[in-house]
């Protein structure tokens, strides 16, 4: 006896997806074919488990192209700010455009759309983050930190620090020191 089959591929794929997701205990909602909304937070580990479970069916979770480029922008900025071997002699907009091969206008729009913040603001946030680390970990004066982070003056660094965090660099230093003491006394 020979049997002939007719498949409904859309339904078939959806059913497989259904089974795997339910099997993983994931709470979700179907948005469209090949697109679902996960209704809970998935830890990195659970995301990996899901990907592994889907691999058996050769189903891949597609990373969004836009998010990949945004991640590259972020990596480039973080390298630019934190890696002192990376010297940037041009404006950061020119540097980013060159490094990533897109116009700055394009990068900037995309970045704002995906991250809800501007590239300029992200750079400042990272620079202040670097300043915080230097304040805490190394025994550097603000003058030295301003120099290492390419600020024109200590005043400029202090102002930007205060505008970004709402507190002055010295208050930050004092709070972190007190917090360490507080945590030691409580453990």
């Amino acid at each position: 006896m020979t049997l002939f089959f007719k498949f409904n591929f859309n339904l078939l794929c959806q059913k497989i997806l259904d089974e795997v997701l339910t099997d993983q205990g994931i709470n979700y909602k179907v948005i469209a074919f090949g697109e679902i909304e996960v209704l809970e937070k998935l830890s990195k580990q659970r995301q990996q488990e899901l990907q592994q479970a889907l691999e058996a069916y050769h189903i891949e979770v597609v990373e969004n192209q836009k998010s990949i480029l945004v991640q590259k922008i972020k990596d480039t900025i973080i390298d630019m700010v934190f890696n002192e071997d990376t010297t940037v002699n041009v404006k950061s907009s020119v540097y980013l455009a060159d490094a990533l091969g897109h116009s700055y206008g394009y990068l900037s729009n995309l970045f704002s759309e995906v991250t809800y913040t501007s590239i300029e603001h992200f750079i400042i946030l990272q620079k202040i983050e670097h300043a915080k680390q230097l304040i805490i970990k190394e025994d550097l004066s603000l003058t030295e930190i301003a120099f290492r982070l390419n600020y024109s003056s200590v005043a400029h660094l202090s102002t930007q620090f205060k505008n970004t965090t709402g507190i002055t660099p010295s208050a930050f230093q004092r709070i972190i020191a007190k917090r360490r003491e507080f945590n030691q006394n409580n453990n």
């Binding site: 937070k41 990373e63 680390q133 965090t165 709402g166 507190i167």
Partner: protein, 148 residues
């Protein structure tokens, strides 16, 4: 895979403040889920329950009956389960010393409750945007201090 919303919780015994707070999040670009609690006891009961969805940012009013914001802060800081929650103190007013003290005890953000709705929206939007950066970029939360 992208997480596309931020979980917010607020503990405040003032009904109007809770309402303004929830309304302020409605127009925000970042999608959020806001949970409110009438005091510190309700909040801690929820956080300690097994199926609690832990917030990314928790706003604590300082003066609440039954359990104050400061007491909640202490309990939260002592439990490793809550280490990823950013804590924002959300209070009417306090002395410089009190403010610094909340930071020392582990708060990340201090917000003096704004007197008008427009400022409230701006401040909450800034807090959530910056917190979103910490959250999505694995930045060091120990250094996360912010004051409005």
């Amino acid at each position: 895979m992208q997480e596309d919303y931020i979980n917010i919780a607020l503990a405040d015994d003032d009904e109007d403040d809770r309402m303004f707070f929830t309304d302020a999040f409605e127009d925000l670009k970042i999608k959020s889920k806001v949970n409110t609690f009438n005091d510190g006891v309700y909040l801690m009961d929820y956080l300690n329950s097994e199926d609690a969805l832990l917030p990314n940012v928790l706003f604590l009013d300082l003066n609440m009956p039954r359990k104050s914001g400061l007491e909640c802060l202490k309990e939260i800081k002592q439990n490793p389960k809550f280490k990823d929650i950013a804590i924002a103190i959300y209070s009417t007013s306090a002395s410089e010393e009190d403010i610094e003290n909340t930071f020392v005890q582990g708060a990340n953000i201090y917000i003096k409750k704004p007197s008008d709705f427009k400022t409230l929206k701006k401040v909450l939007s800034d807090v959530v945007t910056i917190n979103w950066q910490y959250h999505t970029n694995n930045m060091n939360k120990d250094n996360f201090l912010l004051r409005f």
